[in-house]
Structures are given as structure tokens and as C-alpha cells.
Amino acid sequence: MLSNGFITPSSLSVKDLPWQIRWEKDKCTLCGRCAAVCPVHTLELGVFRKRMVSTPDLSHLTPANPPATVYQTYHGVRQKTDPAYACVGCATCSLVCPNDCIMPFRTDEADKFRFHLNRGGQARNRGGRRNAPDAAQGGLLDQIKFTRISMLTDPALDAGRHEFELRSLLGRILPPEESLKLFHEQGWTPPVREIYPLLIGGMSFGALSPNMWEGIQMGVSYLNEEMGMPVRICTGEGGCPPRLLRSRFLKYVILQIASGYFGWDEIIHSLPHMKEDPCAVEIKYGQGAKPGDGGLLMWYKVNKLIAAIRGVPAGVSLPSPPTHQTKYSIEEAVAKMIQSMYMAWGFRVPVFPKISGTSTALAVLNNLTRNPYAGALAIDGEDGGTGAAYAVSMDHMGHPIASNLRDCYLNLVKLGRQNEIPLIAGGGVGKNGKLAANAAALIMLGASVVQTGKYIMQAAAGCVGSEADRCNICNIGLCPKGITSQDSRIYRRLDPEKVAERVVDVYLSFDTELKKIVAPLGRSTSLPIGMSDALAINDKSAAERLHIDYVV
């Protein structure tokens, strides 16, 4: 700080920031790539003045020419400390540096930056997931072990060689007596889809860049058509590109309708041109990352293409209302909405609601059991991700998925309707990279299907966001990897073909790991939904809460 500088409440030093950039002058070639690529423009040209002692050669050293102090300048980069430009730790600078001379490091104590993120009275917005400092120690799902290992009394299976039928059902399944009766009477039965139990959760066209969306869609199509894996993907609230709506690939897609109804004008107009029915329709009432809050696409990302698909003007923020404005009661309005969505496709497409994890989930579920059209219930736990939300919603609102799901499943068991309304669980699945173990734990706690979005972004496109508040700038469209940007100069970095390849990699390895879990349990013929006798945890209260074994 200069001697005539002044201090404002938000004058921070580099030390106060969450991320500090180390730059090595010796290795720097001054190419400038780091500063050019930094999404938050935290790097600026640094002109440094340095005092040196200059000693002439001995032959020139005379009283008239003594050693002297000289001032030199050199150039480099300087980190801005203005909170608006604070480093987000994405490390894209390191990615582009030809000499590995720059890298951000996490501060060694709680930063002061967090107290200044609301300048102008704007509460903090960001993308990502709940910032849980204990993430490194593993969430609850990571602590669950699979303890019912088949030993001698029933031989364990060979995950590599045995046949497995690890499929799940999406759609309302009637009790056996009723479905047989309807079969013989040739009556209408609710449509049911046989799908792979790991679903790619709703990430909208708009939240994601066109390249990312295309890459995931290509990956999903490849998995279906070449690998025989019925993987499905949900659109999120943002509609669907018209070309996809009119293609045969629509059958791999779950169309989401949410409180902003974005994109549904286009979808309705495409109805007569559809070659295939979509897999299902998801009515989003809530999202785990921002429970009780609507979707949010900030103006940075609403370009002409997004605006056209969503049927809105470009350059304005698109906050969806927290609730469907016409829906005031589950008994009447929600049931009607489910039915009208059925009607749009001639009762051939399952329709199901998605809610955020909440202590009132049981009330929703109980109601749906009495609605013969409800095709499933998706519950999104507090650890779910999002492209944009208020930080306070992300960090403090919501219900963990494990107990929410378990309560719902056990309630269905009490009613004798387990798996008739498939439960779709999500929210932090694979948060610490343990996708298959987390998914299997949820399935054995009672989920028919597990959904994940963030993991796909991380594994298929290299998202660097983390729960230690790294990057997480999906909301402003400056994603350094081009995953959540709508700026073609940024998203052209992401090759859709490579994303597709990675999606396939993720699913194939997930499938192997899932088999490695179920084979030792002796399961292969059907997905072990609700096989809670296989689960245990070394936390007594968690074991009691989830009705699973306590082991030490």
C-alpha cells in the first residue's frame, strides 16, 4: 500500500484472500497467458521496482566509481485484492503456464474475504455444491460399508464373468394382482421404462454450454446404442434444442418442467414432429442445492441461442419462481399437473415430481401413493449441485439424502408399496469420488435410481469446482473449462467428442464397480433395492437412524 493510500473496510491484503497466487519470477517467460486466461481477471501486470547494490568490476572499481545502489524495474503479475476480482483458485493459470511458474494456494487460516462478498448489498451467488469443510473426511454415504459378504454358505459371484441384470424401473408399478387384472382386461397401465440405475440429473441447456450438452448427449446415445446400457439424462429446466426434440435420441431424455416453464413453448410446438416419446417428464418442485428456491440463470449466460430456446429476451437474468405459481395444493393442483403432462403424450410417458430433500418429504410421498399417475418421486439431498444459487441456500438449506430416502422407503414398506413408486435419490452422490459405493449404498437403503450431475461435470469435463470453495463461478458464465459458459470463446475449449468419451468411461467403470459391490453380496439377478441387511456403519446413531447394522 502506498504511503498516501487509505483503508476501506474491504481493503484486504493478499493474506486475507482465500486463494493466494505464488508466482516464480525466475521461471516466468512473461508470456502473459495466465493473465489472459484468468476468468476473474485477478492477475494484472505487475511492475516491480527493486533496489540493487551494483558493484563495478575490480578493474573499474575506483573511488570515483564506488559500489552504488541502483533501482531496477522488472515485470510480472500481481494479484488483485479487491474482493470483486479475488482469485477463485481455479488454477487455469497453472494450466496454461508453459513453465509451471504460477499456482494458487489455499490460505492457511479462515479468509477475511468471506465477510466482503456482499458489496452493494448483493448476497453472494455462486455455483457448485454445499461447502462442507468435512468433505475430505468423507460424508455419511462414504462411511457406509457393505458387510454381508457371501462366504461359503452362498458362493460369492465373479464380477468379471457372471451375468448381471442391473436395471431399474422408472414409472408407476402396480401391485401384481392389479397389473395382471389390467393385463387381461387390456386396460391402461402406467408406462414403465427400464433404465440404468444411474441417471444424469437435470443440468439445463443454458446452465451448461452447448459443447458440454452435446458431449453428454452423445455419450448417452453411445451408451444406449453401442454398449446396450439404457442410460437416461434429464434436461433440467431450460428446454431442449429443437433438433434433439425431433430426433430419435429423445427417448434417452427426461424432459424437465419447472416453475419458470422455460423451453416448454418449443417442446409443445415440437410435439407433432417428435419421432419418439421422451423417456419421462420430471416436474421439478425443488432442488437439493437450493431448496425452496427456483432455478437461476444469470444474465451473463442468457445469449441469443439460450434466449431463443427458452423463449425469453436475451441478456436478462432468469430466476424461476420458488414454486409453480398455479400449484397451491398437492391434492388438487399437483395431481392435475401430473395428469396434464401425461395427456400431452397420450399417457405413454411416465411423469414424476422431483422435490428437494425435506422433512416434509413423507407427506409428499404419502400423497403420491394415492395418485395412480405419479411415476416416481425424485428426492434431491442437500449436497446436490447447481449452476447458480445464493450461497446461503447452498450451504445451510436442505436435508441430507440418506435419512430422507430411508424414511421414505420404510414408509412405502409400511404401506406395502415399496418400488411401486420408485424413489430416485440424488444430492452429493460421488461427492468424494466414490460414485459406485455411494450409489450402491443409496440403492440398498431403498432408492430405485440414483442421480448425479456434478460428478459427470467433474469426470467427463474436468470441472475443478470443489467444496473447499474452489472456482464455483458457474453462475457468471466464465467457467474456465467451458462447461458452464455461454461464451463461444470460452466453450470452444471443450471438445464435445472428448466429453462423450469420458461419459462412456464413467459409465463403464461405474458398471464394473457396481458389479464389484453386488457380486460379493451374491446379487446378480436384480438390483438389490432395499437390501439393507448388506449395509453397516461404524456410527451408532447413524445406524439406528437408518435401521442398518452398527459395526466397529
Binding site: R148, S150, T153, D154, P155, L157, H162, E163, E165, R167, L169, I173, L174, P175, P176, E177, E178, S179, L180, F183, T189, V192, E194, V413, K414, L415, G416, R417, Q418, N419, L521, G522, R523, S524, T525, S526, P528, I529, G530, M531, S532, D533
Partner: protein, 376 residues
Amino acid sequence: MCRLFALTSEEPQSPMMAVRALDVMREGHDGSGVGLFLSDLGGPLEEMRGAPILSGIFSNEGLKRLDQFMIGIGFMTKYKMSIKIPKSPPPGVPKRDVYLIRAYEYPETWEGLSQEELDYRLLMTRLQLRQMGEEKGDMIIYSFWPDVIMLKELGDPLTVAEYLQLERKELQARVIMAQGRQNTNYAINLYACHPFFIQGIASMTNGENTAFVPIREFLSSRGFPGYMGYQSDSEVFTHILHFTLHRLGMGIEAYKHIITPLQDDDLKGHPQEGLLKTLKQSCRRLIIDGPNCVIGCLPDKSLFMVQDRKKLRPGVVGGRPGLYAFSSEICGLDATIPDRNKNEDFQPMHLDTAIVGPDRLEVKICSQMDSLPLPH
């Protein structure tokens, strides 16, 4: 591993025939217990086909309570088989007061009831007695049904059978199912011993049922009082069969489609693809995951054997017209029916259901790939 043996014979046979077959297979079981199911009875009980027979183990106190209870409902004892046992049981067999096999006369007030109501009341009576026994620990009830005797006890099968003098001429049956081994997965409990029985349907199983918990949850939530117990993971096989026959109104041929549905590729070419898909989806919660060999008896006295999808357990059916046996191992079959055509022995694989009907003329094989007889 359990060892199973079942036979169906034109001539009434002693249960010793099955127990001896178990003994031949003793290398395959640990001799920790024995369970017997007898039906299509010979001897004096043949004359009382319609009379419900109560089988169980009682303490002297329990017997008094039983009499009080049964008289209260109006059941009159019609016939009782007294098993006089030596004072001290052989090693490994607990001391009991009374092994009871007693036929009753229906209460007068039950006359004119529909068969369905009658069946229901018999079931409820058995469950009530079981509950009474569990409260005081003085009765263990195995079955209460016309033309059915059951016996289960801890100990080596042959030792127990000799101790109970099962080779008596009044104890004979045309259908006999025997299982050697006490349940080992869960707590030792006589209610965990196979065969299991519900309303004329019995089954016993070799192997562990890895999908037990979700199936138990499904059955227990059907609102049918008989779907209870589950001290053993194998009891669900009996109840799934009951569910198939009684609640779905389907035949034994459909049982395999419920517990191990065809895979999708096989379903595609099947003449009843639609029906089977409906069954597969709506009965998904009843899919077993093996490894299991199930041998069972239907109300019409047909015997059957099925394997799970993995077909990891042994099982063979063979015999000659008039006498067929279902056995875990061929040596059991050899010991019992040596004079059969061994070329006709059949080991059901992952798609088969082997059935010997009440006529005992042949082994009928139905494959899941065949067309399924539709329910009437």
C-alpha cells in the same frame, strides 16, 4: 449346506425312506436337524382325509392349554398318534414332553362355511396357537391342515427318526419331504427349520436367499396374516408360491417366472412377452437371487423342483412310474430307487421346473421359454 429329499409314491411309504436318503447324503449336511412333511397319508389317517391335523411339540403345560383352547373353539379330537419316547433323548436332541400328531373334528359352528373361509380359519387357528406358544414357550406349532403331518427337531436326522420311532406302521404317506440341517443363517429356532408350510403348500430350500430382506418386506406388507415368521430366509419361497397360486391365481408354471424372470433378450421372442413383462415388473420385489434349489409340494400333491437363475445348487429328479424322488444328490436317489432308468434322471437347470403330478406317471419338465398356461 442343507440336503433335501422328497418322494412321491403310489404306495404309502414310511418317512424313514426319506430319512435314510438324507443319511446317504450326510457328507453334504452337518446333521444338525431334521424337518419332515408328510401328505397324502396312509395308515389310519387316510380314513380322515378332511380332518385337520395338528402337528407340533408341546410341554405338558402347553398341552393343557391347547386342549382348553381347542375345546373353546369347538374342535373335538378325532384321532391321536401317541409317540412314546425313551426317557432320555440321544445327544444333541433336546428333551421334549410331547410330540403331537392329532386329527380334529371341525367345530359344528364351522359347518357350511365356504372352503376359502375354512382355509382361512385353519390358518388363523394355527397362528393363534403359535402366538400362544411363543408367549409362554410351551408349544411349537408346525401345521394345522387336513392330510398334512409335519415334524421338526434338532439333532442328526437318522438319530432323531429312530428316537421318535418313525418307522411305525401308522405313520405312512405317499408324499414325503425331508430336510437335514438346522437353519444356520439366523438364530437356532425350530420355526427356522424347513420344510415350511402354509395352507396346503410346502417347500424346502437348499441355499441362502440373498434377496431375503426386500422379499420379506414385500410379503409382510401384503396384509395377509399368514405371511409372517421368517425365522429363516427360506420361508419366503413357500410364501411366494402361496402368493403365486392364491393371490395371482396362476399355476406352478408361473412360479419360476416370478422368482427368476427371463432376461429381456429371452423375453423378446416369448409367445407371452406382454404377460411375462407385466409379471416381471410388478413382481420384481419377489425376484430371488439365489443360490437356491427349491423343492415343494402343491395342494394337489404334485411335487416340483426349481433352481435359481445361477443354478449353483445340486438337485436331481428321477424314478419310475409310481415312485419318483427329488434329491439334492444322485446318491440319495440311488439309495432310494436303485431300480430306475438312470438315463431319465433329470437335473433342472436355470429355466426348468420339474413336476411330478399326483398321478406319479412321469416327470414333466416345463421351461420358462415355453408358453405359459394361462390362469383360468
